[in-house]
Amino acid sequence: MSSIDSLAQEFGRLPGIGTKTSARLVYHLLKGPKVDLHRLATALSDVADRVRPCRVCGSYSDDEVCGVCRDPSRNAKVICVVEEAYEVGAIDRSGMYRGVFHVLGGRLSPLDGVGPEKLNIDGLMSRVGAEEAGAQEAGAEEVILATNASVEGEATAVYVENLLRPFPLRITRLARGIPMGSDLEYVDGTTIAEALAGRREMARP
């Protein structure tokens, strides 16, 4: 396969990009200065080499511990639990939240073969559990369950909540200002800010 074809094929594997668009992208890049191509290549290989999940929260980072987790001005006793790493940015951009995050890396969906063991739930438990050695932010005071308002997000929140119940914690759920079934990623900052402000205690089953 020619190098043009193999690049087009790689682009074509990205979400929302069909055969036509991927070919157009390749020719667009070829028409521009070579230096642009090299910069793109470097950026890609940097992401491949350097980015890894933060040891504490599971969000993506260039370092072992991400910027949010290292930021001393943030309240490490409030943990906001999200499904995917890109949702960290959505909530952070709302400007309303000064706590830290925990990324589950998905949501429960047995239909797709995703059970609790596939999610970063143990990590959350050890952050919350005070007895865990080396957890500087041990003894969280509040966990905000910010999984999506879909049936899957709801079930994931219930599952995590039940595991957290034994701990002396405030457990809250994002308010329902966020339309059911919509991903946090696409919700605007004001709505997220309102949902955070209106978060409520989860009802005991």
């Binding site: 049936v151 899957e152 599952y159 059911m180």
Partner: protein
């Protein structure tokens, strides 16, 4: 509502046509297999975005075409232009209302306010409980805001819980699905119960009127304890009673659910029971009813559906009659036609094989002919 215009592109054998309908309706006359039912199916597709004959979207396009497209302009209480297209290759459905994409099909449901009567309706009564649950689901989806969402989320939670049962990931991982399952399932059961309670008398009255003097009843047999009739002042409000009953049944059925790998309790086990009086006893029409009793009971269900539109949407329903009274005796079919005339003066679009099958008010309707899918106005 009144259907004013219909644009057809490659739906079944109907080719490419644009039709303008008279406000009072039309009688479409044509031999069998010329496409009479296809026309009504196309109209009803723009009401529910599904075939009323139970065909999948992939079967609705012309053989030689990958894409079918339908567009209707309706006037009346809530004027709108509704369109639907389906691409067989991409398996993609696109629905618009007044030119705007409906991001969820639920938002576009029920814009025509149409009810389809068909000889196949007898299966509503003689078929299994699933047929009647589907009837309830369609009527409530089209007429009760919030029902579609509750039903979709209930089904989603149900398949996920079943998958969790089969994955063997333990009680806690299964339980996680019971929150949305119980909430949405309870809502579904309560809305079904409310509808049946509100229309049970009307059903009996329609049955009596069409049959001449027969007695029939429809009754909701929920799988969950839904609580007292909402008309009474019940001790437990129905949604809580249904959720409570659902939770208890899930706990009690745990061992069976694990063994089976599926959920035994819930509104997916409901029954809409229809009984007729026979020799002084009430018997299920499904097993003991005669052909005439079944057809009459099915008609009464459709008449209740039309009445629901009239009340719930404050709109005169469009009646689509697909050679609907072919198998009724002349007495019954005349009684049902005059009943329809008493009930309202809405648009009627009916199909018949022969000119002489057009009766009563429909006699004054314009006649269209259909041959090999081509409609001659």
């Amino acid at each position: 509502m009144v259907l004013r215009e219909l644009e057809l592109r490659h739906f079944r054998n109907l080719g490419v046509q644009e039709l303008r309908f008279p406000p009072e309706g039309v009688a479409v006359v044509g031999d069998n297999a010329q496409g009479k039912s296809n026309l009504l199916e196309a109209i009803y597709y723009l009401e529910s975005f599904r075939s009323f004959r139970g065909a999948g979207d992939g079967q609705l396009g012309a053989f030689s075409e990958d894409v079918f497209h339908l567009r209707a302009a309706v006037s009346g209480e809530r004027p709108a232009t509704v369109s639907a297209g389906f691409d067989r290759k991409l398996r993609k459905k696109k629905v618009t209302v007044d030119g705007n994409d409906a991001s969820r099909i639920a938002d576009a449901l029920g814009r025509l306010g149409a009810v389809a009567f068909s000889p196949a309706d007898a299966g509503l009564v003689s078929g299994g409980p699933g047929r009647r649950r589907r009837f309830l689901d369609v009527v409530l989806s089209l007429n009760r805001p919030g029902y579609v969402k509750a039903l979709q989320e209930y089904r989603r939670a149900l398949v996920q819980r079943n998958a969790a049962l089969r994955a063997g990931s333990g009680r806690a991982a299964v339980r996680a699905w019971e929150g949305p399952l119980v909430t949405q399932g309870g809502a579904v059961a309560v809305l079904r119960q409310e509808w049946v309670a509100a229309w049970a008398d009307a059903f009996a009255a329609y049955y009596r009127a069409v049959s001449g003097n027969g007695a029939a009843a429809m009754e909701y047999r929920p799988n969950l304890g839904v609580g007292a009739d909402p008309a009474d002042d019940a001790s437990d409000p129905p949604p809580e009673a249904a959720r409570e009953s659902f939770r208890r049944k899930l706990d009690d059925g745990w061992d069976d659910d694990v063994r089976r790998g599926s959920t035994g309790a819930g509104p997916h086990r409901d029954e809409l029971r229809i009984t007729v009086e026979s020799g002084g006893r009430r018997v299920p029409v499904r097993t003991y009813g005669s052909g005439g009793q079944r057809r009459t009971a099915a008609l009464a269900l459709r008449l209740v559906e039309a009445a629901t539109i009239r009340r719930q949407r404050a709109a005169e329903p469009i009646l689509l009659l697909d050679d609907a009274f072919a198998e009724l005796d002349p007495g019954r079919s005349e009684r049902v036609m005059s009943l329809m005339e008493e009930e309202g003066r809405g648009q009627v679009i009916l199909t018949v094989p022969k000119e002489s099958d057009v009766r009563l008010r429909s006699m004054s309707l314009a006649r269209w002919r259909i041959r090999a899918g081509a409609i001659e106005a």
